[in-house]
């Protein structure tokens, strides 16, 4: 409470604080992992502040804390004059902050169009339709996305995704804009355009503060203020000029390295690439690609690529994410067949089945591709064995590599525990274990810190220059590209130019490789603009940017702070519906899944015991014995098989499962019957399936009694009184005693708990796994709005599925609906609301989709099948199962379903079911709200 009051006072008092963010002794841990170590910082307001450092130094954690996406563990985070620990302050401030998390389009919805994405964010900030449309129109215009408004986010290029992310962030005029690595993996032209856009926006909103994390040092040169980070600590702050002056270095890259602690840069020196010696024995190319193309449907991933790489050359592929580098490399290795064109390795046409060529190549793919479950040494030994190094050479070779690649310390460690730089070194060691003549490396240094990158390159240079290994490497770092003998610039599936780095710069009279690349990109864009209007890069950027923000009265802000908003709830419901509608797998499962399962379970859970095969061992062969057999054979439950000759045959045929029942009639049966000596007939029943055996035994008894009755009637003309009273069984509700009539109505509740719970749990956990849950953390949407908003579409789908199942039961299975459909529909509505609630509850305990799936399947199915009256009635259960059964909604709906279908019940008869079903809804919803955190940990 003290915190909250304090926060309020400060925000009221300090109208224009000097610092926009103030961090005091901030420490953050993930388990035992220290991500932030006692950070004290004050960030100036109204400026562009950059956080620099490689992956995994704590930049993202710090930005997430400032944005309120993560809960503060230790220390104080003050943002816009208030304390971020106070949930009341966060709620009131969230409309003033915008946060774009790391990863291309991480908080966007891939299947939603550009317009739908922005629209969703507008709703979250409580903007009315008119206001939203006005703002979206302006934002699209200023970012050049107008003509792509209907394109799904997943089909946008990296640069466009980031622009869309920016639109979503700017929809509510934030005072503080937080961007976490907004340009990683984006091509240089789009990167430049992105920063132009940001500068333009800042010019229009003089007070806006921007916090940016980046791994590209050259971008950071233009920022107002920098914070250099390493290992969770701040290692330097100040303007770029100040930092460079302090360290006495010319470039930020070098300045950053010299800021690193001693032990990290101890052996760092400027890397020199010795010139390539052209002492080839043959002039056969290592790689020769001719007019290679790859087409997926209507998308051309690689367009007519030709290149030639000489033996011993270091050849670089420079381009952004998704430009076709990886696909080209996969075609060269035979992992993907080319749509057209030809690739040759060492003069041999690439063929997926050519094992011999593969032995001459080492490959390292983009993602870390070694086994995390094997130690460093085991990984190397496995690969050595798979490349069939002679057994006696394996361990010397592994030792040699471990020393040369400096992996001795990590020999018995598992890769998952190693820093990224070391893992990449290990990958390289594994790739060269069989001394290949060529290495194909796909973005090997992505995310690695500058020192480790230089270490890595040192190894590459050694392999190339000393051992003559041909190296084909792809990268998006300009400085790495500059080290290659020759490079190809790649964009949108095409090679723009191939030459030595120096020649490329010269050809476009550029100072740096980046400028040269941008010049080539601009040419390509102009060309494609001429040929088609639908280019993947924006083309209207050079035009003067329009006014971004015509003054709109900030109605949104007042609305955003209300405790409950139907607009935000509807925002989530609408979005979830669109996503579900566009996800074929989940939608099929939701609708078709229940129908398939209905067939399986309707037919599968049958208690009918019929078509039983039986045979007779008639040792009497008299009219009396045949008469007795005829009585059994006449029953509709039995099918007679060939007679049994001997006891051993009886045994054998029972054992094989061919017979379910064998009837043994003793010798002299007829004679003894006539003499009233009470002959005994023995019935052998296959007991392997106890339920069936019980039923067969019942059939045999009744057939026996009916024979006696018949016999007495024929002999004496009277019906014998076996018992001095009649016991009359009345089979009610299902007179024919057909399994299907009883089971089909019971399967409907089972499916309506199973599938809705799974879908609902997946729906929430997906957001956790894919990262869009951040939008719950940093926008004004409340947990209740989030939960109900997400629940509504699944209730709707489940009701559709309910009516489908009822129709199926009545038409295909022929089970008549005797009672009131309205009463049943109302019960179903209450029921699916409760069962989606069960899914919500499960989602609170699970982090990944697969665990949500496993948990909902195991828990829900086990309870619903065993404890809710599907087979054994709940009133037969005792102890724990009985309690579980009474506390699960299926029990009540099952009773309602059988009641309406079989027992012809109506509204008034179902009151005992309505009330419990109604009670589940608020309980489950409130528990889910309570268990769902409003911040990440």
């Amino acid at each position: 409470m003290a915190d909250e009051n304090n926060g309020k006072k400060q925000s009221n008092k300090a109208k224009k604080p000097f610092s926009v963010v103030k961090l005091t002794q901030v420490t953050h841990r993930y388990g035992n992992n220290l991500a932030l170590d006692n950070i004290n910082l004050e960030l100036p307001a109204g400026s562009m502040v950059g956080f620099i450092g490689p992956d995994g130094v704590g930049k993202s954690s710090l930005l997430a804390l400032i944005a309120g996406a993560r809960a503060v563990q230790n220390g104080d985070v003050e943002v816009l004059g208030g304390n971020m620990r106070s949930s009341r302050f966060r709620t009131s401030t969230s409309p003033r902050i915008a946060y774009m998390p790391q990863g291309l389009g991480k908080n966007l919805y891939p299947t939603l169009s550009v317009f739908e994405n922005i629209n969703f964010f507008g709703r979250l900030f409580g903007q009315e339709k008119k206001e939203r449309q006005h703002r979206i129109k302006n934002l699209l215009k200023s970012t050049g996305l107008t003509e792509f408004a209907d394109r799904p986010a997943e089909k946008l290029s990296g640069g466009m995704k980031q622009k869309l992310g920016l639109c979503c962030a700017l929809i509510h005029d934030p005072e503080l804009l937080i961007l976490d690595e907004p340009t990683t993996g984006v091509d240089p032209l789009s990167r430049r355009q992105f920063w132009q856009l940001i500068n333009h926006i800042r010019a229009q909103h003089s007070g806006m503060s921007v916090l940016v994390a980046t791994a590209y040092m050259e971008e950071a040169d233009d920022f107002d203020w920098l914070i250099a980070m390493d290992d969770g600590k701040v290692i330097g702050t100040g303007s770029p000029e100040v930092i460079k002056a302090q360290t006495g270095k010319k470039s930020l890259d070098e300045a950053f390295i010299s800021l690193l602690p001693e032990e990290k840069r101890h052996d760092h020196h400027v890397l020199v690439v010795p010139p390539r010696q052209n002492n080839l024995k043959t002039d056969e190319a290592a790689i020769q690609a001719t007019a290679l193309s790859k087409i997926y449907g209507d998308f051309t991933a690689v367009n007519n690529v030709s290149l030639r790489i000489e033996q011993g050359e270091i050849f670089g592929f420079l381009g952004s994410n998704g430009c076709g580098k990886t696909t080209t490399m996969k075609m060269l290795t035979g992992l993907q067949p080319a749509s057209s064109g030809e690739a040759k390795l060492f003069g041999q046409v690439v063929d997926a089945n050519n094992i011999e060529t593969r032995k001459r190549v080492g490959f390292m793919s983009q993602a870390f591709s070694l086994y995390n479950e094997l130690t460093v040494e085991q990984n190397m030994v496995l690969h050595a064995r798979l490349f069939h190094l002679p057994t006696e050479q394996i361990s010397p070779r592994v030792d040699e590599l471990i020393i040369r690649f400096n992996l001795k310390k990590y020999r018995d460690d598992f890769p998952v525990d190693l820093p990224l730089g070391i893992r990449q070194r290990l990958s390289l060691a594994v790739a060269v274990v069989h001394s290949p003549e060529m290495l194909i490396l796909d973005e090997p240094t992505s995310g690695v810190d500058p020192v480790a990158r230089d270490d890595f390159w040192e190894l590459l240079i050694e392999l190339s220059r000393e051992q003559g290994v041909t190296i084909f490497i792809s990268t998006h770092f300009m400085d790495e590209a500059a080290r290659c003998d020759r490079i190809s610039l790649m964009h949108a599936g095409k090679i723009l130019a191939s030459d030595t780095p120096a020649a490329l710069c010269k050809a476009r009279s550029a100072d740096t490789l980046e400028d040269a690349f941008i010049a080539y990109l601009e040419e390509a864009v102009l060309e494609s603009q001429a040929s088609s209007a639908l280019s993947t890069t924006t083309v209207d950027e050079p035009e003067p940017l329009p006014e971004i923000e015509p003054k709109i009265p900030p109605i949104g802000k007042k609305k955003a702070n209300t405790a409950f908003s139907f607009l935000r709830l509807f925002g989530y419901a609408h979005r979830e519906t669109l996503e579900l509608w566009r996800d074929p797998i989940r939608l099929t499962f939701a609708l078709l899944g229940s129908i398939i399962l209905m067939f399986i379970l309707g037919y599968g859970i049958t208690f009918d015991v019929e078509d039983l095969s039986f045979a007779v061992m008639d040792q009497d062969q008299t009219p009396e014995s045949r008469d007795y057999v005829q009585n059994i054979a006449g029953s509709r439950y039995f099918i007679q098989k060939a007679d049994i000759k001997s006891p051993s045959e009886l045994d054998k045929r029972m054992r094989s499962g061919e017979l379910s029942v064998a009837v043994e009639i003793p010798p002299n049966f007829g004679q003894q019957l006539k003499r009233e000596r009470t002959p005994e007939i023995v019935v052998w029943i296959d007991g392997s399936m106890p339920f069936r055996a019980e039923t067969i035994s019942g059939y045999m008894t009744s057939s026996y009694y009916s024979y006696l009755t018949d016999l007495s009637l024929r002999t004496y003309g009277v019906i014998p009184n076996l018992v001095p009273a009649n016991i009359e069984s009345r089979y009610r509700y299902n007179q024919d005693f057909k399994s299907i009539e009883a089971m089909v109505p019971a399967v409907i509740p089972l499916l309506l708990v199973f599938i809705p719970a799974i879908l609902m749990a997946l729906g929430v956990v997906r957001e956790k796994e894919l990262g869009s849950i951040t939008n719950l953390y940093v926008t004004p949407v409340t947990r209740l709005e989030f939960i109900i908003g997400k629940q509504l579409p699944y209730i709707l789908v489940s009701m559709v599925s309910f009516f489908g199942l009822v129709a199926l039961a009545v038409t295909v299975f022929g089970v008549p609906l005797k009672g009131s459909l309205w009463a049943l529909s109302l019960a179903a509505l209450l029921y699916v609301t409760a069962t989606t609630g069960v899914g919500l509850l499960i989602s609170a305990f699970t982090k990944t989709q697969i665990s949500a799936l496993a948990a909902s399947t195991v828990v829900v199915l086990m309870i619903a099948v065993n404890f809710c009256g599907l087979i054994d009635p709940v009133s037969s259960l005792e102890g724990f199962p009985a309690i579980i059964g009474k506390l699960f909604p299926t029990t009540y709906f099952l009773e309602a379903c059988r009641g309406v279908f079989n027992k012809a019940l109506n509204f008034s008869d179902l009151s005992a079911q309505f009330l419990p079903l109604l009670t589940f809804i608020p309980v489950l919803t409130l528990a889910s709200v309570f268990l769902l955190p409003k911040q990440d940990k």
């Binding site: 992992l335 009744s702 018992v723 016991i727 009359e728 799936l853």
Partner: protein
């Protein structure tokens, strides 16, 4: 030779990976031990604690006698209810059986007037209705006959019929449930393990890595099959002897070795199926949804839950293509009825053919699934 050593090395890698995943391993172990124990000892589909009520319109010695004749474990202690409560209580499912003993029942029995006692049965409760009816008839007849002995002569039966239940004389449900649950677990775990192994390798990029090495998809697939199959076969052996025969005290009639041989052939089919599913699904969640739609019919319609002959013909015929149908057939034959090679070889052959089809299909999909991933 190289091919064999690749298969061996890749398989060992597979075993090491599995060993490192302690959570998965624990789950698998639980499935083969705890799950089988709990499921087979908890659920039974024969008569157990059936809820019963009596309308005692007679209030006589005989009616009391009949009421007292119902007790555990087959029936719950009967509730005595009013005649007007019969319909509502059956409607809302409070009882499966309601006996209606009419007024003057005892007097009429003794007078030889053959009075009628009504048994109302909720026939939507399939598991209890028919079997329970038989029990009720037997119990009431015995009580009445015993009661009237000494008062009147009882009809003597001209023929006796006695039933012998073979292979499971007391119809102990755990004998049936435990083995069937073991088979469900074998099928489920083998599909999960291999399917997840393929997806995991593809998500981590290691599958792609294997395919650029001098290895063929055949070697990679076979390695996964033998390694995962071996683990499951060992657990099956453990479960069969320790859990089922040991803890649950279920006698095994036939040759366990023959059963394990058959289980190995079954595992060839299911692990191939798992790999096939792994190549079809793009992500773990998709694999999960796909698996639910595949596993449920494999288990429910195999004949291991309810008798095959009661299913519609079309379902029976379709299920001939499912490995589980043949697995259930030979497992029941060997383990319950002690059948030998001469009886089960056709099932083994069928399983092998089905497995080969899955295997070839999985192999042909294998490289493609990486290329488009």
């Amino acid at each position: 030779m190289q091919c064999l050593s690749n298969i061996l090395n890749l398989g060992i890698k597979e075993l090491r990976s599995l060993w490192r995943d302690k959570v998965l391993l624990l789950f698998v172990f639980f499935a083969f031990t705890g799950l089988i124990y709990v499921v087979s000892s908890a659920t039974s589909i024969e008569l157990n604690n059936a809820p019963i009520a009596v309308v005692d319109g007679d209030q006589s010695q005989l009616s009391k006698r009949i009421i007292n004749a119902f007790y555990d474990p087959y029936f719950k202690t009967p509730d005595v209810i009013a005649l007007s409560a019969v319909d509502p209580s059956l409607d809302n499912g409070s009882y499966t059986f309601v006996l209606n003993i009419p007024p003057h029942f005892e007097r009429d029995v003794l007078a030889g007037k053959q009075p009628t006692l009504q048994v109302n049965i909720d026939a939507t409760r399939m598991s209890q209705a028919f079997i329970g009816d038989n029990y009720i008839q037997t119990i009431i007849s015995a009580e009445i006959n015993e009661f009237v002995q000494g008062y009147r002569t009882v009809y003597t039966l001209p023929i006796k019929q006695s039933a012998h239940i073979m292979f499971n004389p007391n119809m102990t449900s755990v004998w049936f449930g435990s083995v069937m649950e073991l088979m469900n677990v074998i099928t489920m775990i083998s599909i999960i393990l291999t399917g997840a192994a393929v997806i995991r390798e593809r998500e981590h990029g290691t599958l792609e890595h294997l395919l650029v090495m001098p290895l063929t998809p055949f070697e990679i697939v076979i390695a996964k099959i033998w390694a995962n199959g071996l683990v499951i076969l060992l657990l099956t052996t453990f479960s069969l002897f320790i859990v089922i025969e040991g803890f649950l005290q279920v006698p095994i009639h036939g040759s366990a070795a023959l059963f394990l041989l058959g289980a190995a052939i079954h595992l060839f089919a299911t692990t191939s199926l798992g790999i096939l599913l792994g190549t079809q699904a793009r992500t773990m969640p998709q694999l999960g949804l796909l698996m639910i739609l595949i596993l449920l019919p494999l288990q429910m319609l195999s004949g291991g839950v309810t008798p095959r002959e009661s299913m519609p013909d079309i379902v029976q015929n379709i299920m001939l293509f499912a490995p589980t149908t043949h697995f259930v057939k030979f497992a029941q034959a060997i383990l319950y009825r002690g059948a030998g090679w001469d009886v089960v070889w056709p099932y083994f052959l069928a399983l092998f053919v089905i497995g080969s089809v899955f295997f070839i299909f999985a192999l042909s999909r294998f490289r493609k699934s990486v290329a488009f991933g």
